[in-house]
Amino acid sequence: MSLIRIVLRYAVLVIVASVFAGPFLWLLSTALKSGAENIFQYPPALIPREATLDNFKRVFEALPFLSYFLNSALVAALAVSCNLMLCSLAAYPLARMSFAGRQGIFLVLISTLMLPFQLLMIPLYTIAVTLGLNNSFLGLVIPHACTAFGIFLMRQAFMAIPHQLEESAHLEGVTRLQIWWHVLLPLVKPTLATLAVFTFVGVWGDFLWPLIIIDDQTRYTLPLGVNKLAGAFGKDWRLVAAGAVLSIVPMMLVFLFTQRFFISGALRGAVKG
């Protein structure tokens, strides 16, 4: 690429980035503003007069944020591993095998995406209570443990893998389960990473369900904590902003870590021609 091209590209990258990052600058700036500063002044002041980390400290003092963090992390880890495992298992026959009811099962799965959660929440809660899952980490995982969306996504990925890879393994006497684990899963790593991030985002930001299923404050997840922050201090926006920033950071880290998997050329050289 020529120099002009590179400069142009970065210019576009930066302009687009400013649209995406803009509102966050306000969030960060509010989180960094000290108590002596009016956060509602006009015209808006983006740079804090004297930046301080005090608000973050106060967040940790006010609420057991660290334990909310750990709860969220535990629930997210559980949900992500469950979802990756179960979705890719279920997606395999849906993408690659022929059996009675395949079309029907697939349609039912897709159709489950189309009812709003708000409607399913009360019956789901009743079921969770019946199974004794209320107020437990397992209960928090339920709506994310196996998602139709995940199955859909994995199915799409499996369908893109050349059949011969699977057939040749099959001729070698390799079992379906072994093919799934040793041949297919390594090849859909980008999609697995994608699904992992999506699931993580879903669990990490889930608010409605934890709110209903969790009573015990020691089992609170981050969004519940941030929500509490928003209400508890007569809407001290500085604390709310600090809490929001704290809840976003882990997800950014997860994304930065996993994104290299999206970009790996996993299928390159798998099949020629």
Binding site: Y42, L63, V129, D215, K228, A232, G234
Partner: protein, 410 residues
Amino acid sequence: MLWQAHDERSDGDVDIVEIEFWTMQLSPILDGYINSSITAFEQSHPHVNIKWVDVAWADMERKLLSSVAAGTAPDVANLNPQFASKLAEFNALEDPTRYLGAETTALYHAGVWRSNQLNGRYFGIPWYLSTSVAIYNTSIFDEANVPFPATLEDIIEIGGIIREKAGKYTYFPSFDGGEPMENYVLMGGDIRNDLPAYGLTDASVEKLLRYYAGLYESGAVPPSVLIEGHQKAVDLFQSGELAMLLIGMQMLHTIRLNAPELVADLVVRPHPNADQGRANIAAMNLVVPTQTQHPQEAFAFIVFITSPERQTEMARHVPIIPSTPSSLEDRFFDITDPRDNFEIARAHSIEQIRGGAVLLPPLTNYSRLRTAFIQHTQRAMLAEVSVEEGAKNLIDDWRTISRMSGASPN
């Protein structure tokens, strides 16, 4: 579950009763107070174990509703009267008069106590109260060179001048909660459960709609009143874009926190219409859902935590007004520093509460009524319909709803 019951019985006399207690947004500020209250109660009632759950203000309805639907309702819950009355409508709440004697019920603010009934049944016990006072940003009034409004209607003209001279908005009449209907009563109207169309009259509804239309037309209120609630009012006021707030005294703390440099310009006055003998009291209730297995213990706990002593103690921790008038005799509520806005606001609040009432009674089909009321008020405000037509439509809707619920005797 079976074996558990068996276990308890074999243990003989030690039957531990667990009472689940839901509050609205009291944690973590009141952690110390609530926990010590619970400990004190448990000491005097060794067979009761209180499990405290704190829920954010905005989430209480969803959470309580789900738990009622799934049969896991708490034993004691802290609700506002409107939501409580919705539950009461379906007989989901215990009647406290079945468990409490007259000497206990007499402890509470009589007007507030009376307002906790629907169709002749009581459904809640008042806990703590608040009322709106007026907070003015004097610098804006000075800039426009206008006096503070003496009545709600005055805001129209004064707001127009402020808009013109200072380029700011004056007032933010929020549409969340029951504010428009409370204003209707404040302006002389009446809302009653036992009349057709709940007692609305053309003249007074037109008066209210004219008021809202006037506010909007003169530029006294920002367009965002259509989509946002009182939180927005506070934010606007804090940013110096709004000249006045009609709001509970506790908001002074928030303003102090978020916009410290504003404090010097603030003046606190009674609510503009309060001196006409009508001040609205906002009450927080404690209720006992009928799903509870232990109503006796639940009410015992409520009586304990709403006792005059506990409420006085509570007021020392957070800016509330106790629902037990005897608490207000405490020296704590006296003004010690006449320049302290908050103490002035509290004095005004106590004054208003002593002579005030819950202006909006519990209504059957409350949320439908509220939705219709707001819809028509906003239409009139935006001049999409004439004030007369808006009033007619509003009353028609209320009449339909009242017939639907069979609440009125016609």
